[in-house]
C-alpha cells in the first residue's frame, strides 16, 4: 500500500515519503504549511488513491476532544423523560458517535482527517493522545471499550496558530508543505488545467510569482488562489495580451481580485503599479 500522488494532486518526493511512513508505521501524520498549499486536499487524495473512505473532522475553536469520540445528548434525554418516551430507559439511545468512533468501527480501513487542529483549545491534542496511540477509548456512560478494528490512517493539518504540545508531536510524523517552486507549480497547474494554453500559463505564472515578490503584502497569494485565478482567466477567455503590456509598462493584471484578498494589499499593489508606470 503506497501513495504516489494522483491524477489530481502533485506530491513531492519528501511528501510521498512522509505519507508512506505514516501509512506503514500506522502513526498520525501532521501536515503544516502556508494556507492554500493543499493540506486538506492531501487527505482527500490519499483516501481516493488508496480506495478508502474519508472521515473528516473539522476543528473549531469550541471543539472538544470528546466530540470526536462520542457525545452524550443529555438535553434530548431530559426532554424525552418529560414526554414519557420509552427510549429514555436506555442511555445508549442518547450516545451520538463521533468521527473517530465511526472510523474505529468501520468495516474497512479508513482515512481520518483532523482538519486545522490548531484552531482548538490548547489542551485538545493532549486529550487525544491515548486515543490516537492505542486507537481505543472507554465510553463511561455505557461502560464499554471501543477498539479500532483496523487502525485508520490519521492525517492532521495545522495552520500554526498555536503550538502543539510536545507529547503529541512525538507521536506523529511531520511534514511541512513548502511553497512550490516554479517547476512544481507548473506540474500542479498541468494537473488542474490539462489543456490551458502554454503562452497564457507562462505569462500567468510570471505575473503570479511577481506578485508574491511584492514587498509588504499581508497575505501572499498561494496555490489555491492561483488555481482560482486561472479558472477565471480561462472562463472569461482573457487573451494572453492582457497579461503582458505592449510597452513594457507595469499593468494591473485582470481579475486580480482572485489573487489579493485584502483591501490593504489591493491598495498597496495598485499604488505600486501606478508608481512604476509614472517612473518609466
Amino acid at each position: 500500500m503506497r501513495f504516489e500522488g494522483s491524477d489530481n494532486y502533485v506530491a513531492t518526493p519528501d511528501l510521498m515519503l512522509a505519507v508512506n511512513a505514516a501509512i506503514r508505521l500506522q502513526r498520525p501524520l501532521l501536515i503544516k504549511g502556508e494556507p492554500g498549499t493543499g493540506k486538506t486536499m492531501l487527505a482527500e487524495e490519499v483516501a481516493a488513491a488508496l480506495g478508502m473512505p474519508l472521515m473528516q473532522w473539522h476543528i473549531k475553536s469550541t471543539t472538544k476532544a470528546q466530540q470526536g469520540l462520542y457525545e452524550y445528548d443529555a438535553v434530548s434525554r431530559l426532554r424525552d423523560s418529560q414526554l414519557g418516551d420509552d427510549k429514555v430507559k436506555d442511555i445508549g439511545n442518547y450516545i451520538v458517535k463521533g468521527t473517530l468512533w465511526q472510523a474505529f468501527e468501520a468495516g474497512e480501513q479508513t482515512v481520518v482527517l483532523i482538519d486545522e487542529i490548531d484552531k482548538a483549545d490548547i489542551e485538545f491534542p493532549n486529550d487525544l493522545l491515548r486515543e490516537l496511540d492505542r486507537m481505543e477509548f472507554y465510553v463511561y456512560e455505557t461502560r464499554e471499550l471501543v477498539k479500532a478494528r483496523q487502525r485508520p490512517i490519521v492525517i492532521i493539518t495545522s495552520n500554526n496558530e498555536k503550538e502543539l504540545p510536545d507529547a503529541f508531536l512525538r507521536r506523529c510524523f511531520f511534514h511541512y508543505i513548502k511553497f512550490p517552486d516554479r517547476d512544481t507549480m507548473q506540474k500542479i497547474v498541468d494537473v488542474h488545467f490539462p489543456d490551458i494554453k502554454r503562452t497564457l500559463l507562462k505569462e500567468a505564472l510570471e505575473v503570479f510569482f511577481g506578485l508574491r515578490e511584492v514587498p509588504g503584502l499581508k497575505k501572499k497569494p498561494s496555490t489555491s488562489e492561483l488555481i482560482d485565478w486561472l479558472k477565471l482567466l480561462v472562463a472569461e477567455e482573457i487573451p494572453v495580451e492582457a497579461l503582458r503590456s505592449p510597452d513594457q509598462k507595469a499593468i494591473i493584471p485582470p481579475l486580480h481580485g482572485a489573487l489579493l484578498k485584502n483591501e490593504q494589499d489591493m491598495h498597496l499593489f495598485e499604488r505600486l503599479v501606478f508608481m512604476a508606470q509614472r517612473n518609466r
Binding site: A21, L25, L78, Q82, K162, E163, R170, F174, K218
Partner: protein, 392 residues
C-alpha cells in the same frame, strides 16, 4: 546504529526525543528509507523534527554529520561534462583506463570531481598549485580551477547532499524572521479567557444541576461566551534611533491590534517622562500625563515597552536630561514608578541581544525594570510572553 547521529542532533540543540529516534529506526527497518540518502534525509526529518522552524538547524546538522560519510561531496562548481571527459582522457593512465572499464564512467567521474575539489581547496589555502608527486592517477599539472567556470550544462547530477545544503528553510528559523503572522501566533499565547457579556451559550452542567434541583423539570441555564480578557498596555519608543526598526514595530503593532481587545498604546521618545502621547502628529498639543495612565489602567494590565533603550545616560538619570524639554524628574523615577505599578512587565528591544552589554543605557534600563528585557525576535517574544503569562 545511528546513535551518534542522534546524539549529534542533540548536541546541535534540536529537541529530539528517544521515542522519535526509535520511530525512525522502526521506519528504517521497515525499509522506508530505501537505499538513497535523500529518502533517508526526508524520513529522518519527518520523524525527528516537528517544527519547520527547526528545519534549517536540522539541515545543517545533517550536512555536518554526513559530510564525511556521503561519497559524493556537494560541488561548489558545476563541471561541464565534455570538459571533464576531455580532461579524463588527457590524464588517464593505463590502470585508470582499466579501472574505467571495470567501474564505469559514473564512478570514476565522481572520483575525479572529488579530486578537483581537493585541489581547489589546497589552492585557496595558499600553497602552490603543484602536482602531488605523481601519485594522483589523474595528474594535475597546472590547470586553473577558475577555468572550470565555463558555461554549459551542469555536469553533476543533483546530488543528495544538495537538498540539505540548499538550506531553503533558513528563513523559517525562529531566531530570525518576525512577520505579522508570526507575532500574532506568539501573542496568542497570552490569551486569558473569561466569561463576559450577555448569556447566550447553553450551560449544560448548570442545566443538569438546575433540572435536578427542579425535580426533573427541565430548567435551561445560559451563560456568557468566553472571550479573551487579557489587558495590554504598550509603550512604543518612536523617532531617533528607533527609525531603523520602524518596520518590525509596525508589524508588532498591527499584530497586537488584531489580537487584543483591551489594548492601550502610547508613544514616548527614548525614555518615559511625565507625559506620553497617542498621536505622533499632534504630540505637542495632545499629550497624556503619565500619572493619568498609571491611575486609569489598573495593575491587571500587562505592560510592554518597545524600544532600543539606547540614549545618553543623562536622559535616564538626570532631571532635565531629556533631549526635548526640561523634565522635572529623571526618567529613572518614571520607569521605576511604572515597574512598581505593573507587576507584569516586559521590555522588547529590537537591538540584537549580543550588543546589549556594550550599551550603558541598556544596562541601566534592564536594572530598573528588573532584567525583564527581551529581544524583539520570535524567540524573544516567546520568552517575554511566557514571562508575562506567569502569575504574579
Amino acid at each position: 546504529m545511528l546513535i551518534d547521529f542522534f546524539l549529534h542532533l542533540k548536541a546541535r540543540k534540536l529537541p529530539v526525543s528517544t521515542k522519535e529516534f526509535l520511530t525512525l529506526l522502526e521506519a528504517v527497518q521497515a525499509g522506508l528509507a530505501g537505499h538513497s540518502m535523500e529518502d533517508f534525509y526526508f524520513l529522518a526529518r519527518a520523524s525527528l523534527v516537528k517544527d519547520e522552524s527547526h528545519f534549517d538547524r536540522f539541515d545543517q546538522a545533517f550536512g555536518e554529520y554526513f559530510k564525511g560519510i556521503e561519497a559524493i561531496p556537494g560541488l561548489e562548481v558545476d563541471l561541464p561534462e565534455e570538459w571533464l571527459k576531455a580532461m579524463m582522457h588527457k590524464h588517464l593512465s593505463p590502470e585508470e583506463k582499466a579501472k574505467l572499464e571495470k567501474l564505469g564512467w559514473e564512478t570514476l567521474m565522481e572520483e575525479f570531481k572529488k579530486r578537483l575539489q581537493e585541489q581547489k581547496g589546497r589552492h585557496q589555502g595558499g600553497s602552490k598549485w603543484v602536482g602531488t608527486g605523481g601519485t594522483s592517477p589523474f595528474g594535475n599539472s597546472g590547470y586553473n580551477p577558475e577555468g572550470i567556470r565555463v558555461g554549459g550544462e551542469s555536469g553533476g547530477n543533483r546530488t543528495a547532499v544538495k537538498v540539505w545544503d540548499q538550506r531553503e528553510y533558513r528563513n523559517l528559523d525562529d531566531t530570525i524572521e518576525l512577520g505579522t503572522r508570526n507575532i500574532k501566533v506568539a501573542l496568542r499565547r497570552l490569551r486569558r479567557f473569561a466569561r463576559l457579556g450577555a448569556p447566550d451559550e447553553l450551560d449544560l452542567d448548570g442545566t443538569i444541576a438546575a433540572t435536578a434541583r427542579n425535580a426533573g423539570y427541565l430548567d435551561l441555564m445560559m451563560r456568557p461566551e468566553r472571550h479573551n480578557a487579557v489587558k495590554v498596555l504598550i509603550f512604543f519608543d518612536v523617532g531617533g534611533s528607533m527609525d531603523e526598526h520602524v518596520k518590525v514595530c509596525e508589524e508588532l503593532f498591527s499584530a497586537c491590534r488584531a489580537e487584543f481587545k483591551h489594548l492601550e498604546y502610547f508613544y514616548f521618545h527614548n525614555c518615559v517622562y511625565d507625559h506620553v502621547w497617542r498621536d505622533s502628529i499632534r504630540r505637542h498639543s495632545e499629550r497624556t500625563p503619565t500619572l493619568d495612565v498609571l491611575h486609569k489602567y489598573g495593575p491587571d494590565y500587562k505592560l510592554i515597552f518597545v524600544g532600543d533603550a539606547t540614549m545618553s545616560p543623562y536622559e535616564i538619570l538626570q532631571p532635565g536630561g531629556s533631549i526635548e524639554y526640561s523634565n522635572p524628574e529623571p526618567g529613572a523615577t518614571w520607569l521605576r514608578r511604572l515597574a512598581d505599578a505593573y507587576p507584569s512587565l516586559a521590555w522588547l528591544n529590537p537591538e540584537p541581544e549580543r550588543s546589549w552589554d556594550y550599551r550603558q543605557t541598556i544596562g541601566i534600563v534592564r536594572q530598573l525594570i528588573g532584567e525583564r528585557m527581551f529581544p524583539l525576535t520570535l524567540d524573544g517574544m516567546t520568552r517575554a510572553i511566557t514571562h508575562l503569562s506567569r502569575k504574579n
